[in-house]
């Protein structure tokens, strides 16, 4: 019996090992051909890398929401992408208003901070509502049920916002002080990219400090370790869970405004789907439930996604590789989950059974 189990397991292992090897060979081959043919200059690579970092920091902010909720409820909040959309979509109207009355031009810094706060408030409000209405009653249900509820919530939010704000695309106004370029390490970089990156990273550091150093953060970690014991220690579990959703929502809302600064176009009711999935990928990449992991995973995914099509796919001779950009994130997700489901930093998954 034992021998049989062993033989059977190793069969799957062999298959996975071969798959791993093939994936590695393909990636290395693509990289080698690209760099030996020297298709792009280092200037071009740097442009892609900086854009990737800015995009990655946005993914990281959204990924934190997944990770925070997962850390506490062991639940994937499938509707988190829609929470991001809610903030970004609602705030675009305020931004347009600020642009019309000149506030954005006269006081850009104040205006942007107001926008971020507004977006964070909307997103975290939606997240709290969602938790209260859809998730709280299902806290002890079998795992499939909250997941399906989350899928339902995702559609509900998408089409509610479509009903509210219409189905046309909107765009954030251009901010004059973010126009132009800086020279970093000898490369010309659009100002908005490092600004978004730095702002996002400082938010993440604040979050890290909050979770690690404050009393509320300690309560959060306690609930994530063991709910029953935390309750005995006098932690109000419901309050901690609500504040976790609120915090994750606020970060997603901020990410919505950063995204609007970085890529002003394309604000509409379905804008949350891809960032949501990609941020989830980022969270898994870093190890879900792990806060620094989500930050790192987000940045890494941003880089992979921005460099990947040119660095790997073109080397493999695939035409119009940028069309496959969205597929890259999914491929990374699949590969990570197959080969290292605990992610780069995570170890908790193995204990708690995905």
């Amino acid at each position: 019996m034992f021998k049989k189990t062993l033989a059977r397991l190793s069969w799957v292992d062999i298959f996975l090992r071969v798959l791993q090897l093939v994936a590695a060979i393909v990636i290395v081959y693509g990289l080698v051909t690209t760099f030996t043919t020297a298709r792009y200059s280092s200037e071009q690579w740097a442009t892609l890398a900086f854009a990737g970092l800015a995009q990655g920091s946005i993914y990281a902010l959204i990924a934190l929401g997944y990770t925070l909720v997962y850390g506490i409820l062991l639940m994937i909040n499938f509707a988190h992408g829609e929470i991001y959309m809610a903030g970004a979509f609602s705030t675009v109207f305020l931004a347009m208003y600020f642009d019309r009355n000149g506030f954005l031009a006269s006081n850009p810094l104040v205006a942007i901070i107001v926008l971020i706060l507004f977006s964070a408030a909307i997103s975290s409000g939606i997240a709290i509502l969602l938790e209260r209405i859809a998730y709280r009653p299902l806290r002890n249900a079998p795992r499939l049920i909250p997941l399906i509820t989350a899928i339902g919530a995702s559609f509900l939010l998408q089409y509610t916002f479509r009903g509210l704000f219409g189905s046309q695309f909107r765009s954030y106004p251009e901010v004059s002080i973010l126009r132009g370029t800086w020279t970093i390490l000898g490369f010309n970089v659009p100002i908005v990219q490092p600004v978004v990156f730095l702002a996002a990273v400082s938010l993440m550091i604040t979050l890290y400090w909050y979770v690690e150093r404050t009393k509320a953060g300690r309560a959060m970690r306690a609930v994530s370790e063991d709910k029953a014991v935390a309750r005995l220690m006098g932690v109000d579990i419901d309050k901690v869970i609500v504040s976790t959703f609120a915090l994750g929502g606020a970060l997603a809302g901020a990410a919505g405004v950063f995204n609007g600064l970085f890529r002003p176009q394309g604000v509409f009711f379905l804008m949350g789907f891809f960032p949501g999935i990609k941020a989830f990928t980022a969270a898994v990449l870093g190890g879900i439930g792990n806060i620094p992991g989500a930050m790192f995973g987000g940045l890494l995914l941003g880089l992979i996604e921005s460099l990947g099509p040119n660095a790997v796919l073109e080397g493999l001779g695939i035409p119009a590789a940028n069309q496959l950009k969205d597929a890259i994130a999914f491929t990374v997700l699949v590969l990570i989950l197959i080969f290292r489901p605990q992610g780069i930093f995570g170890e908790r998954l193995a204990e708690k059974k995905a």
Binding site: V12, A134, P146, L157, Y159, L164, F165, V284, A327, V334
Partner: protein, 561 residues
């Protein structure tokens, strides 16, 4: 409780009012108000606007259970007044501030609708309406049990008939000719008189039935009719089955082309749903990338049989020859995509399979695979199947094909469920570790679930491709997976009748309400959430699931997952 519970009344009322406000602001009230239900004074918009208010009235009265009718009525009146507040605030705000540039649905039409086209004096009218409706709800709740049930039931039936009046139109046209329709319908709406007649007749029938049931219960209690009723129920079942069979066979002739197309869509999703039911319902593997196999099926069929430039079959294949190959290809991909995810469970499996589905769609859309899959242009000119010289090119004829496919798949599903493999799946669903300890080969069992599910889905895809004649990557998006998943959940996971009911409810009915396509996914979302909160086992649950979910409920509170 002797006094009125103000807090409950006001809270219920406000919730009802916020529901009305929500539907108004997302534009549903306006969109639905174009469709009259009874005469020209009651339309579907009213249903949305006042449904929540009515519920608030009923619930408020129910909260005052032991109180007198007067207190019930008064409390629901309070709820009704509270329910008017949110919408009134919207009207006041919209009259003073320009809202439409942000909230696209808050326009003049909506305001006219909310104020009954009377401007500001309509505000009072809106309050009057909400209070009267909530009051009606409260009075309704105070009725004695029998009347409450029968009146509520017949009222709902009248509304349902009015909503789906196009079926009535179609059937009556076929049976009695077109003029008969105009007797009871006015456009799409029921005439007030016919609605009233229908209501009275239905109430009469329901009251008679209720009385018979009470009598029968007395008989059963005395034990005399036990054996007799068992035989009768068997007889009834046989008659039911034969009746359904005949109905299914003659359906396209009675229903005409448009409704046959609707039936075809239902059948297609029954096929998909039954396949997904094996993966999710039996084996408990939540697969969100199920559309991938549907796409494989459709593309394989397209590439093998198309008369266009993409043909890879060398002109050898017709629909029937290609069909086995399509199923085999789907099964193969089911195994290939199943392999990497063997070790994953629950949420992770869901997201990875979702990733697979999207990767397949993005690949089909890319220029890279254009020489094979046609890129964004898709595969064109796929011929219709020919069955013994009959070209199956109309919805009526394709309906029979999809019906045959669905029956076959349903039969296989039932046999599989009761087989050793079916029991292994269910054991695995309950607990993988225990199942493995019992000697179940998890690898084989999981792969078989993926493979069989994929095969069914591929069959559905093949029929879909042959029906449409042209396939595009955009037809294979996540929504198909979500659709299939929603319908098996609404119907009841693991239950075959559930899949059929789910497909009718989630695919058939929305097709009939084509005007409101825009809000279809919104309704899905609401339905999924409400279903999971109130009835996670679905409408027609499989026995095992019902037991399982009720066991969960019985568990001690505080025992976390």
């Amino acid at each position: 409780m002797k006094t009125i519970d103000w807090k409950t009344a006001i809270r219920n009322g406000l919730v009802g009012g916020v529901i009305a406000l929500y539907f108004s602001m997302i534009g549903m009230v306006e969109a639905f108000s174009g469709r009259n239900l009874i005469g020209d004074f009651f339309n579907m918009g009213h249903l949305l606007l006042f449904g929540g208010v009515l519920a608030a009235g009923i619930l408020t009265a129910r909260a005052h259970k032991e109180a007198s009718v007067g207190i019930n009525a008064f409390s629901s009146l309070v709820a009704g007044l509270a329910a008017g507040i949110p919408t009134t605030l919207l009207i006041l705000l919209a009259n003073n501030v320009e809202l439409q540039s942000v909230f696209v649905s808050v326009n003049r039409t909506l305001l006219a609708l909310l104020t009954f086209e009377r401007g500001m004096s309509g505000l009072g009218l809106f309050f009057l309406a909400t209070s009267l409706i909530a009051l009606a709800g409260g009075l309704y709740d105070s009725l004695p049990g029998v009347y409450k049930r029968t009146l509520g039931l017949s009222l709902s039936v009248v509304v349902v008939v009015a909503v789906f009046s196009n079926i009535v139109t179609q059937i009556m046209t076929t049976l009695f000719g077109r003029p008969s329709v105009r007797l009871i319908l006015d456009g799409d709406a029921l005439k007030p008189l016919s609605a009233a007649v229908l209501f009275v007749v239905l109430t009469g029938i329901f009251i008679l039935r209720e009385q018979r049931r009470v009598k029968a219960e007395k008989l059963v209690a005395s034990g005399a009719a036990a054996i007799e009723s068992k035989r009768a129920s068997l007889q009834r079942q046989v008659i039911l089955f034969v009746g359904i069979g005949i109905l299914l066979l003659i359906a396209p002739y009675v229903l005409g082309s448009f409704l046959s197309q609707v039936l075809f869509e239902v059948g297609r999703f029954v096929l998909l749903g039954l396949g997904l039911n094996i993966v999710v319902g039996y084996a408990g593997l939540l697969d969100l990338g199920y559309v991938a196999f549907f796409a494989f099926g459709a593309y394989t069929m397209g590439i093998l049989t198309t008369t266009g430039p993409l043909n890879q079959g060398g002109g050898l294949f017709n629909f029937w020859l290609a069909l086995p190959i399509v199923v085999l290809v789907s099964v193969f991909f089911g195994i290939m995509l199943g392999f990497p995810v063997l070790r994953m469970r629950g949420d992770y499996l869901a997201i990875v399979t979702l990733g697979f589905g999207e990767i397949i769609r993005i690949l089909a859309l890319s220029d890279w695979l254009r020489p094979i899959m046609g890129g964004a242009q898709g595969v064109l000119a796929i011929p219709s199947p020919v069955f013994f010289g009959i070209k199956l090119d109309s919805p009526e004829k394709m309906y029979y094909l999809v019906l045959a496919g669905a029956l076959l798949v349903a039969f296989v599903s039932i046999r599989l469920r009761d087989s050793r493999l079916g029991r292994q799946w269910m054991a695995m669903r309950e607990d993988e570790d225990v199942a493995e300890a019992m000697g179940i080969n998890l690898v084989q069992t999981k792969l078989l679930a993926f493979a069989i599910g994929a095969g069914f889905s591929g069959l559905g895809g093949a029929i879909f491709a042959a029906r449409l004649g042209n396939i595009f990557p955009h037809s294979f998006n996540l929504l198909i997976s979500i659709n299939a998943l929603s319908l098996i959940i609404v119907g009841g996971l693991g239950s075959i009748p559930g899949v059929i009911v789910g497909a009718i409810a989630l695919v058939g009915l929305p097709e009939l309400l084509r005007e409101f396509q825009e809000y279809r996914l919104l309704m899905y979302g609401i339905l999924l959430i409400v279903m999971m909160l109130n009835r996670p086992e679905g409408f027609l649950p499989a026995e095992v699931f019902k037991r399982e979910l009720h066991a969960e409920e019985a568990e001690l509170p505080g025992a976390e997952a």
